[in-house]
């Protein structure tokens, strides 16, 4: 015990002073979900599978309502999406006060076909 105490005087502390120093995170860290609107077809699959009820699809207004504060980053929507429009990225979410929905507009099918031609 005494040998450990003497060795410990010359070691630096093992705490990481976040946010002044950053620690290295893995590549598949569960940060947040990013939606690619060019691939989305508003098929409702992600809304049926969401474990936290954080996605709502509005077909008349062509919009996806997404609540960042409720999402638990489980990745079920990423596995379910048939056109691979959802991706999980390792950037962590920032803290904030706003608990409202975030509305993402999806371009209609005719506009997407026009852009391709």
């Amino acid at each position: 015990m005494l040998k450990y105490t003497i060795k410990n005087i010359f070691k630096k502390p093992s705490t990481v002073k976040y946010p002044y120093e950053k620690r290295d995170t893995p590549d598949d860290f569960r940060g947040q979900i990013v939606i690619d609107v060019d691939k989305c077809t508003l098929c409702h699959f992600c809304e049926m599978q969401c474990a936290a009820n954080a996605i709502e699809i509005d077909k008349e207004n062509n919009a996806i309502k997404y609540k960042i504060m409720k999402c638990i980053a489980c990745g079920e929507c990423v596995d379910e999406c048939p056109t691979e429009a959802m991706k999980i990225v390792p950037q962590p979410r920032k803290s904030g006060y706003d608990k409202s929905w975030k509305i993402i507009k999806v371009p209609r099918l005719e506009e997407k076909l026009e852009r391709k031609v």
Binding site: D28, R30, A51, A52, I72, C74, D79
Partner: protein, 358 residues
């Protein structure tokens, strides 16, 4: 005439990690009777789990923070028994590695608390520093430090690549070196032995009569370990449960140290035996019927009963957690103790009240 004093060991106390109310009656500083109340963290999880069975995986994980992965493993085992499928072999090995990593981090957390309860704070700091190696390993495998979202019906959702296998081995070697030094300093210490030897004795007949489970029973000489039913990948692994005689607080400390070394050994055996293969497959099932699944979390025996009625919404989920049965030994082991020994004795049965109250 003797005067009886009632002292509440309340829901808030620096020693307790989670809330319980224990009412001790004392005569001249010795305990004569004990009664307790639970229910401070009741959230109604059994009613909330009557929902879509795929969403229930993520809800059952959030019942407890320390033993979160074994709750999903047991839930998924029960649903797989109803449907009639079995997981792939590589998925069973990965589930076993996650269960043993969780046993490691839970025992290291408890040993730190026990050191703090007897006044040995240096041990607390060293053990929680060693525990960070286990948390880094869990983060590299699954993406989160707690509540990993790794299990699904039929397998696991993320695979272990060869680079991650090498990293797990390096981390386990570093952890074992640190733990050998800590064990030598802990078990030759005069203060820890004086405060815990011969205190809070649970005899073997009482352990059998009261139905104790987990390391508390194995520290009193009862060789019950539910891993001997060889669920998941335990049928391919060579191990025997550790049993100590004695039944006092010191035996309960020593058995958790020995189980941590056994967990590192089981992880190494799993990594040597794994062969490449598929880890999951995914399609929809209908759940109709009932089944029971039991596993061994770090604290005892976990019991899940699930009943489905043919749709995707479950009808009844019943959870019985290990601390629910271990709490009933408190009136027996607290009899006749000095009041200063009550905190370390209540802590030595390793209570987890978020599991008890659900």
């Amino acid at each position: 005439m003797q005067i009886t004093t009632t002292v509440p060991f309340g829901p808030q106390h620096p020693i307790l990690p989670e809330p319980v109310h224990v009412k001790c009656e004392l005569e001249e500083e010795k305990v004569v009777s004990v009664s307790f109340e639970v229910g401070y963290a009741h959230r109604g999880m059994e009613k909330a789990l009557e929902t879509d069975y795929m969403k229930g995986i993520y809800l059952s994980e959030r019942i407890c923070g320390i033993c979160s992965n074994i709750h999903t493993t047991t839930y998924v085992n029960a649903i797989e028994k109803i449907i009639g499928i079995e997981a792939h072999k590589r998925a069973k090995y990965i589930r076993t590695i996650m269960a043993e990593l969780e046993r490691l981090h839970s025992h290291l957390l408890w040993l730190g608390h026990a050191g703090e309860a007897v006044g040995f704070e240096n041990l607390f700091m060293r053990l929680w520093d060693a525990r960070e190696i286990v948390m880094d390993t869990l983060e590299f495998i699954s993406g989160n430090r707690v509540q990993y979202a790794m299990n699904t019906i039929g397998g696991v959702r993320r695979d272990i690549t060869p680079k991650k296998e090498k990293m797990i081995e390096d981390h386990m070697n570093r952890l074992e070196e640190k733990m050998i030094e800590i064990k030598r300093d802990m078990l030759t210490d005069y203060l820890l032995k004086r405060r815990t030897a011969g205190v809070g004795v649970l005899k073997k007949e009482d352990a059998v009569r009261l139905g104790t489970v987990g390391p508390n029973a194995r520290a009193s000489g009862v060789p019950w370990d539910l891993r001997m039913t060889r669920y998941e990948a335990y049928e391919y692994i060579n191990f025997r449960p550790i049993v100590l005689e004695g039944g006092d607080n010191l035996s309960r400390v020593i058995i958790r140290v020995e189980e941590s070394f056994q967990a590192i050994d089981i992880i190494r055996q799993c990594l040597n035996q794994m062969t490449p293969g598929r880890t999951w497959y995914r399609y929809r099932h209908e759940v109709s019927g009932e089944a029971v699944a039991r596993t061994e979390p770090p604290r005892g025996e976990l019991f899940y009963y699930i009943k489905g009625n043919g749709t995707n919404v479950l009808e009844r989920v019943k959870i019985r957690t290990p601390t629910f049965m271990n709490l009933m030994t408190l009136p027996t082991i607290l009899m006749g103790l000095q009041f200063a020994d009550v905190p370390i004795t209540i802590l030595s049965i390793d209570p987890c009240f978020s599991c008890t109250d659900r």
